[in-house]
Symmetry: C2
């Protein structure tokens, strides 16, 4: 595996490979099994696998965890190589933003709710850095995890609206044995928080079954149930619980006959976790089969 | 010359040519000698020349001339073929915007003044459609006329900020024998307006000479002179006269020792004309040598 830190080195590496199918897995590093599942999928489908590791300051709010976001490039490089990455692109902030950026890519409406409402500017930062990465790598396919379902919806819409010559491959959320969605931020959790945080996946499992069994037919029921279930955990502080159509992210009342996203964001101490389920369900990847 | 109306046809045409140097000349059609000079330059420097003709509704304000903007695709096709275009891309509005676009590319600060101040949203529309065209065509080089100097500055900044793999080639303004900058909008002018409109290029010539001779050393002198000169024409209604650094477009007082843009926008009847000079000057292309 080759590791490069500059746009120029990366482009030079990719130049003779332009006629091959190039897959990009864009990440903020501190790789976990979720990222590994994206890399494995890219490895299966593409000739060249590019992994980017960049903690993008633009997508963090002023009171968010940019500074303390976990970083360990040596560990990332070992995991990436083992998972089948051909080239690891790990640029500095100065390399990605050599001057104060004046250009922003904004996706409206889809970003009004959920994490877009809680984290103003977050999705501008995401869309802008993804556009940059697409221009730097020029991939044929790019792999994103559905744990960030709103991010997938936003990137897919940006690609369609701006005619990016890239195919977005959304990949299922990877979970720990007890159901917790894997996330770089899980390392922040205390043992007690970690234990109580399983309420997110458990609650989402429960509503998924109730909706699919026809026991819940309205968004309000789903939201009320999840709010009650999550609030039963003393360390949980709910940011949002919402039900929207997917991938159009519009509010919805009756649940039957459409694809819906049930999404939650919950603080445990200073750590904010997100999780979701898209109904009707496709398969998810349990940790044991990673 | 091949003419295509859809993104798919264009990509299909370009697919076997991807290892050649592709030049894009993006236009709103109703081709004039300014466009022809861009095409000829692209023809000289590139293996494949793509001309896009698209009157982009996104860059027109609600009270602007989108509906009456001149269009004549047959004429454009004849001129394009003669000038050396390989493929003319003339998509419909539905082809470029198959659904309500939610994604916008915004370049801040550079768009606060000049045409950006007079035409709110204009440069969002320009940046967004240029991003789309770059993704559709994937050109190596793209050719823009310096008559729209602010547009060139905005597009160059967008390319740099978002790492587009495209080289922007700014090309000098082409002028009629009497100095009027050629523009598709010149067809709107009455004979009397047309005659008085020469005050723009004449005034700009005069200040260029005075600045280069050291007779004018401050922005204020340039602005006062031009305002007086243009106001002497009874049919002229000034939108703006401004002096900024180029290409950074920041206000400037002392003129020596930096590259500056002297730019004007003036209404003659219902027609809004723009013109500018960048100092110190490089060569311009007179009509006789086109």
């Amino acid at each position: 595996m080759k590791t490069v830190g500059t746009v120029q080195e990366l482009r030079q590496f990719l130049r003779p490979l332009r006629d091959r199918r190039i897959g990009l897995v864009p990440t903020m590093g501190y790789l976990h099994e979720g990222h590994v599942s994206l890399i494995r999928r890219a490895r299966k489908e593409c000739d060249v696998v590019v992994l980017s590791v960049f903690v993008n300051p633009l997508q963090f709010g002023p009171r968010e965890d940019y500074d303390r976001y976990p970083r360990d490039l040596d560990r990332d490089a070992r995991i990436a190589e083992q998972a089948g990455v051909d080239v690891l692109f790990a640029p500095s902030v100065e390399e990605m933003y050599p001057e104060k950026p004046l250009t922003t890519v904004t996706v409206s409406r889809l970003t009004d709710r959920l994490c877009g409402a809680s984290r103003p500017g977050h999705f501008d930062g995401v869309a802008t850095v993804v556009a940059k990465l697409f221009h730097i790598v020029e991939p044929d396919r790019a792999y994103f995890g559905l744990k960030d379902a709103q991010q997938v919806a936003v990137v897919e819409r940006m690609v369609r609206d701006l005619h990016f010559p890239v195919e977005i491959i959304p990949c299922p959320t990877v979970r720990e044995k007890d159901g917790l969605a894997v996330s770089s931020r899980n390392v922040y959790l205390s043992e007690e928080e970690r234990e109580q945080a399983t309420v997110l996946s458990a609650g989402l499992r429960e509503v998924a079954e109730k909706v699919q069994a026809g026991e819940m037919t309205r968004s309000r029921q789903v939201i009320d149930y999840l709010q009650g279930r999550i609030s039963s955990k003393p360390l949980a502080r709910i940011d949002y619980v919402d039900v929207l159509t997917y991938p159009d992210l519009t509010p919805v009342d009756a649940l039957q006959g459409q694809r819906i996203l049930v999404a939650v964001a919950v603080h445990f101490g200073s750590t904010r976790l997100i999780d979701n389920v898209i109904l009707p369900e496709k398969e998810e990847v349990p940790c044991s089969e990673r």
